[in-house]
């Protein structure tokens, strides 16, 4: 409405329809000087402006966001104000991590008669944002819609690239697929047939392609070695080009986050608040790449008490234990795994380019990571996609196995009975299911029992790339947790922060909390807690 030129700032004002909007109307009626940069969006309740929407506002070019609702106690819906305070609080932390600064987001509450107070608030906020300047997020425009002929050609290319015609229609994939086994009308084989016969835009096929876990179990079983997960990855990219949007879960929060991080001007402050005893060397050529755990912890603290950042701290402790003082990338971005696997190849490429260039510029020779998705992406995908990384990528488990194998370290007894949830990226897609097991065998738990389906046959935690979560995902997680309990273990060891998040979510079931609940701990943390010099 008031936009004067290209360089002017964008401040988005989410305004509650009830109390606060009346105050705003007064300001407008009396032609009070509302700052030009402010664009108002009227909403029924600020409690409904969730964190994904706030982030999306920034991802789409807002430089500041004000959420203005009603005084606590005057909320028409009871809990709207409290919800909004909590949401804005979370988002401020996220914005701090992203390096944008939590002060770009503000919550305030006004009664209808407090219009002058509101004006002061808006003017102060605008003045602050003017001082901060542009947030600097430049997102790619959505991909141009490909014409039909081009689409057909790309589809043909997909069929050739992945040799879909090699599919023998044997159905081994469907009989192994964990989604199909919990009853979802899902069949990798049917998707393959649909692709060959040109029916990929049938609703069922489309839905299937977005809910695929890309866990790789079907690829493992396929007698013709059709690389189904990679095929789904490219099929999703094709879908995105023809306007069919993906089913991004959590309101698209994580996708907005990753897309925002593709802007070179955004400089995250990723490692604030690290414990003081962690030793870091800002000049080392060995870099520890953390991954997105801190963002997850803030986002999911609303639902459950996951603390996946401890995995990163424990990883650093273990590196220090073995005399490695790694460098940390203060402005570390996402590796882009989830963008690529949800079909957003364009933004993935921007992230990958930024990451690879940054690591080269710093002269990094070795990257150590503990996140299986970061590992696969940095180690394998970047090279596959032609980004030519000149650094060596090793998983923390490889580093630990090598060091522990040198001897003179031992493990304290762990007074727990344990079982292990494989990460699909490390276990199957990278074919390293043996790696965590080597370490598990070194531990001294009361007992280590494998689940019914483990190693290469392991079942996914229920979701991948933040897409297509539904009731079947939940059913699958419940099935997995039942397998966990069937081992009689009292501690579930995980190797991926997302496994913890997803399985924890399934445990929140209010009717089955007793049967499904079990403590979880990452393998890295267990090692960090029990390792000793002999």
């Amino acid at each position: 409405m008031n936009k004067t030129n290209e360089n002017s700032l964008n401040i988005l004002l989410f305004l509650c329809n009830w109390g606060a909007h009346a105050a705003f109307l007064n300001l407008q009626d009396e032609q009070r000087p509302i700052p030009d940069e402010i664009r108002m969006v009227r909403t029924p309740c600020t409690g409904r402006i969730d964190r994904a929407m706030m982030l999306k506002a920034f991802a789409k070019g807002a430089d500041g966001v004000a959420v203005v609702g009603c005084e606590p106690g005057t909320c028409r819906y009871g809990s709207g104000t409290a919800t909004s305070v909590r949401n804005t609080g979370d988002m401020q932390h996220i914005l701090d991590l992203m390096g944008l600064g939590g002060e770009r987001l503000r919550f305030a509450a006004f009664l209808p008669e407090q219009s002058e107070d509101m004006l002061t608030f808006l003017q102060d906020f605008t003045a602050d944002i003017r001082k901060l300047g542009h947030a600097g997020i430049e997102t790619l425009p959505p991909p141009p819609i490909a014409d039909t002929a081009q689409r057909k050609e790309e589809l043909q290319q997909l069929v050739t690239n992945f040799d879909i015609h090699a599919c023998q229609d044997c159905g081994k994939c469907s009989s192994a697929c964990p989604l199909a086994l919990v009853g979802k009308a899902f069949s990798p084989r049917a998707i393959a047939s649909a692709v060959i016969t040109g029916g990929i835009h049938a609703p069922g096929v489309r839905e299937n392609a977005w809910s695929c876990l890309t866990c790789g179990l079907c690829y493992d079983r396929c007698p013709s070695a059709v690389n189904f997960p990679a095929f789904i990855k490219d099929l999703r990219h094709l879908y995105r080009q023809s306007e069919l949007s993906g089913q991004e879960v959590h309101g698209g929060f994580f996708h907005s986050l990753m897309r925002s991080l593709t802007s070179p001007a955004v400089k995250p402050r990723r490692w604030a608040g690290l414990p003081e005893d962690i030793r870091i060397d800002p000049h080392s050529t060995t870099l520890f790449y953390g991954g997105c755990a801190p963002y997850y912890d803030i986002f999911f603290s609303k639902h459950s008490d996951v603390a996946t950042s401890t995995i990163l701290v424990d990883s650093l402790r273990l590196l220090n234990f073995f005399d490695v003082t790694p460098r940390l990338l203060e402005d570390e971005r996402c590796c882009g795994h989830d963008l690529l696997w949800s079909g957003d190849k364009e933004n993935f490429s921007r992230l990958a380019r930024l990451n690879v260039d940054r690591l080269h510029e710093l002269g990094i020779e070795t990257v150590i990571t503990t996140c299986p998705e970061c590992f696969m992406t940095l180690h394998t995908t970047y090279a596959e996609q032609g980004f030519e990384p000149q650094f060596n990528v090793i998983h923390l488990y490889d580093f630990l196995e090598e060091q522990i194998d040198k001897g003179a370290v031992c493990f304290e007894p762990l007074d727990r009975t344990i079982t292990f949830q494989d990460s699909c990226r490390l276990g199957r897609l990278e074919n390293r299911a043996d790696l965590p097991r080597k370490l598990l065998k070194r531990l001294k738990p009361v007992r280590f029992t494998e689940m019914k389906e483990s190693g290469g046959a392991s079942i996914c935690c229920g979701n991948c790339a933040w897409t297509g979560c539904d009731a079947y995902s939940k059913a699958m997680q419940v099935k997995r947790l039942e397998q966990v309990h069937a081992t009689g273990s009292d501690l579930l060891v995980t190797a991926c922060p997302k496994c913890q998040i997803h399985l924890k979510c399934a445990m929140e079931d209010p009717f089955r909390r007793e049967q499904l609940g079990i403590e979880m701990m990452d393998l890295t943390s267990i090692i960090a807690q029990t390792i000793r010099w002999e």
Binding site: R317, Q403, K406, G407, A408, E412, I527, Q529, W533
Partner: protein, 199 residues
């Protein structure tokens, strides 16, 4: 800890069962010192009927100056791969000697000097051949006592072991060497009060 390498003359006894490669280990040590490190060395090998499984030992002297008498009275370094050998030579140890044992084969009791243990035979089995336990012990010994240089002993191993097994033997040596370094580091850490990864 005084390292024997500082002394003018270092006396070493390698002991174990016949067939463990005890004599070969002694030979490699002596050859590395004389051929690689330009020192003097002697080797006295004691076996006989023992080479069919009884106790045997190799006595090595490494010196900066010519050696006049090749027998070892009080070893600076005792490398024991059998309980019998360990018991036979322990009384001869001095307070500043260093005892190195295979922890699965030898149970040291009331050792008068500093001692280090390594599961050499088990490690060799994991590498696929328990005959390499002696080479692992050499790696361990090199790391801890620095009695010979790594380069010269690796060169000697490469020349001494049967053709076609050089790579595996060097790997075994490195295993033992890494274990030794790790052991020293662990000691240092424990002494500094840091035992685990958590603070």
């Amino acid at each position: 800890m005084s390292t024997p390498a500082n002394n003018i003359q270092t006396e070493i006894i390698v002991t174990g069962f016949g067939g463990q490669g005890i004599i070969l280990a002694g030979r490699i040590l002596g050859m590395s010192a004389s051929l690689g490190d330009n020192k003097e060395s002697t080797l006295v090998q004691a076996y006989g009927p023992e080479s069919r499984g009884g106790a045997c030992n190799a006595q090595v002297i490494i010196s900066e100056t010519p050696i006049h008498y090749p027998y070892v009275n009080a070893p600076h370094i005792l490398m024991a791969l059998s309980q019998a050998g360990y018991e036979k030579f322990t009384p001869a140890l001095r307070a500043d000697s260093i005892l190195l044992v295979d922890q699965d084969l030898v149970q040291p009791q009331e050792v008068p000097c500093d001692h280090f243990a390594i599961p050499a035979t088990r490690m060799a089995e994991n590498l696929g051949n328990k005959m390499m336990a002696n080479i692992i012990m050499l790696g361990f010994c090199t790391a801890i006592t620095k009695v010979v240089t790594t380069e010269s002993i690796q060169a000697t191993i490469a020349e001494t072991v049967p053709k076609g097994t050089v790579e595996r033997n060097i790997e075994a040596f490195n295993k033992g060497f890494d274990y030794g370094l790790s052991t020293l580091k662990g000691r240092e850490r424990r002494a500094a009060g840091q035992t685990g990864a958590m603070v």
